[in-house]
Symmetry: C2
Subunit: 329 residues, 2 copies
Amino acid sequence: MNDEFYMNLAIDEAWKYQFLTYPNPAVGCVILDKNKQILSIQAHKKAGLAHAELEAIKEALKKLNPNLDIPDEPNKAHEFILKNHSNLLKDGIAYVSLEPCSHQGKTPPCVELFTGLKFKKVFIAALDNTKAGGGFEILKNKGISKHSTLCEERAKDLLKPFYKWQRGEAFKLFKLALSLNGSALGKDISSKESRIYAHKIRSVIDLLVIGGRTMRMDRPILDARLVDGKAPNLCILSHKSLESFDKNISAFCIKGRNYYDHIPKDTKFMMFEGGENFLKSFKNDMDAFLIFSNSRFTAEKSLSLDLNFKAIYRGELGGDSYGIYELQK
Amino acid sequence: MNDEFYMNLAIDEAWKYQFLTYPNPAVGCVILDKNKQILSIQAHKKAGLAHAELEAIKEALKKLNPNLDIPDEPNKAHEFILKNHSNLLKDGIAYVSLEPCSHQGKTPPCVELFTGLKFKKVFIAALDNTKAGGGFEILKNKGISKHSTLCEERAKDLLKPFYKWQRGEAFKLFKLALSLNGSALGKDISSKESRIYAHKIRSVIDLLVIGGRTMRMDRPILDARLVDGKAPNLCILSHKSLESFDKNISAFCIKGRNYYDHIPKDTKFMMFEGGENFLKSFKNDMDAFLIFSNSRFTAEKSLSLDLNFKAIYRGELGGDSYGIYELQK
């Protein structure tokens, strides 16, 4: 297959972790051996954990030598690999959706892995203009790197939350769970897998934003229990004061959670959850929309409003399909 | 990657041609070289054209030797390949979603290709119990075949229209085009790519079935013009007689098309097209549902009925997502 095929595998893997790596970028990496066998398809999973390149190289090496006992901790893994790779990945080929980092951050520079292990080629879809950038130039000077523009747009779509963070701007995501015929009403609309993804996002956002009506009618918990994650701070947008709400509503009973009746200044990553009215009120403020659709038709009322989206990613979770959309203006 | 990964690539490729190969089964094939590089991912595209295995082997050989001038016609291609393969695919590995045929039909037995070209392994997801079967045993006796049960269910889902045809039974597909919030109303709901797929299906079905109301209100053409295909015969289910319809409606102006007010006996492959009421009337008679969803919310009325589907495939066409569903009873 061609380079585009492999880069798309890397990008698709990264999309599975979109939003979960915040404030880091979502990045995917595919490693081929010198004969072009696919050895690994990996992604960066969470800020602080191994970068996509390290994850992919670890898996590739383990496939070639199952006895290699690579440490889990990224700094130790990096050091171990540079010492013990035994040229197993010499002349290998890598496809990375974002330029490999060239600086020591929480984890060591990924570019060292490609030079140290003597890769033949590293394809890069999108360049990195932060202080972590420069990896492309280093690899290019050694004759092993190529900036492929083939999948650049898809790779840059992945980076939108990261770009906003870089600029010090907030990223606002709207989450909506629908039936196949567009109703947001009813209980347990989404599959368990979809809800797990939403809970993972809740565990990394700075603020969950909901409407007062949802709070009063649904009496939700709005935590990240499905992934044992930290419950996000909560902003309740309502024309009624926070004091007027029943404090026995589950969402109010979580220790350590902060509550707001407005979005605090400098909040960076927030997810809005709600139905038709909440969407109507805030659609124009959103950076992206995460819409889950299950496999059921229901006789409940469906959403009714005119909106034109563009899907920048589509995936499946359990029995649901989901899309990450932007509003077409 | 593991065998399941490659078999899923083969099966996904076959799904792109689901319904279009009727009465043949939809089949996909992936070819790896002896070093496990992916050389080709192909599918059977239409009855009478090359089988998936021949398509995949042709592409793999051309990749290894671009000068090979393989004829287009399947019988000639088959003969040419057996004479001119130069052991290029010796020790190759193939993943086929359905047992390769062992008999001369419109095209020669695919199993000969694998033995003649000295493949090392052929993985098969689903066995074929028709007269074309037996390929697995032949390959197994030569030590090169393995029936993988990993993806058997997905491979068998692909074969459902074929199984029905084998038993002499009709296959009934319901096509529905929706907005993301479940409305079937409005014009040009689907992307061009979705409409092309629907027109390709129209060009292979025996009968298109619609309701009298759609005929009178939409005055549709219901042909296969987007793919220069044959317009299907038309059945209009209505409480009014066919004679009462305005004969200037475009669908009546197609030469060579037959019209019915009932489904003729022995009709094998038919597609029902309609909206909420037509779906309500015939949902329990259907074998599968092809549902396109675009990326728009609309203020038009959405479908309102309780139905529980199971998705057996999901894909993307242009800006649309689509699913092939079965009714959960």
